[in-house]
Symmetry: C2
């Protein structure tokens, strides 16, 4: 039995508009998080000089925080791709409530995970750029310049993802009030 | 004009219960974030040996990520204290909608900020404990043992705060569906 237009009529039209906006915001967040995960995961720089025994090489997984960043961004982009199904469901049936609350909670968790990954990576990038004299941690970006540039750039996509997820949570809240 | 019980009757009784739970969860989050901000801000260790010119001393603001952690936790605990007013308002008038959406958005932002501070500090604490051979950053926790213990401990309160904020966002979502 297909629900008639009359049955769906309880949902005001602006809830469908919110669902469409939700869908496109999710697409933007997927592009941002996926791009930053890939950019970070494929970062690796081999220095042009090497001794007989050691090649100087920097990869993202030399630093645990960068590994965490890649894992967190990948999980969040996988979740966002799966959540598109719910987003399409909300466009079709604008008066669903339980799935909206479910998405609200999962979006919140995804935002927290993505923010944790980004902040941990940012703390290490800052250290790589500036170093810290007080505890004798040296800046490594003079040697590994390309590595640092690429790593810093990949943070942009994930912070964009965090902002979009906050907007999605706001939209869910607004949609829940309009029934 | 005081609204009568009949006028407020549109809000189901469980929404008042949610508002009371919301209030107590906020109290827990305030204790957690405030305690961790204070614990981190007052951390400082002077080593028992010193040369003629240098005293070896570790303070939280030697590391920018710890400073960010203190600022973020302080802002979030200040916000949580202010938000108690809204929480009390929701206990009194259980059918308010706009202030619930406002709190939902602010809670989300607060969660993001607190998570960013905690994750950045965790990345640095991990480095202080383990060091990193690949980039020649040495573990400093052998010397600054008390400093490291205190700093690690203060993270617990703020992660507890993050969990409570996620619960508060969930509660807001549930309260918004029950009107």
């Amino acid at each position: 039995m297909k629900p008639s237009a009359l049955q769906l009529g309880v949902a005001p039209p602006e809830n469908r508009g919110i669902a469409v906006l939700d869908f496109f915001l999710r697409l933007i967040a997927i592009v941002g998080t996926l791009a930053s995960a890939i950019a970070m995961a494929t970062t690796n720089q081999t220095l042009p000089f090497f001794s007989q025994f050691v090649r100087f090489r920097a990869k993202f997984n030399d630093l645990p925080s960068f590994t965490f960043f890649v894992v967190a961004s990948s999980i969040v982009s996988a979740y966002l791709i799966l959540s598109l199904a719910f987003s399409i469901l909300h466009i079709a049936k604008a008066n669903l409530v339980n799935t909206r609350v479910l998405l609200l909670v999962l979006d919140t968790a995804a935002m927290g995970l993505l923010m944790a990954g980004s902040a941990a990576a940012t703390a290490i990038v800052q250290l790589a750029h500036k170093g810290n004299n007080k505890v004798n941690w040296f800046a490594i970006c003079q040697q590994y310049n390309d590595f640092c540039k690429r790593v810093s750039g990949s943070l942009i996509g994930s912070y964009a993802g965090v902002v979009v997820l906050i907007l999605l949570i706001l939209l869910s809240g607004v949609a829940l009030t309009r029934r």
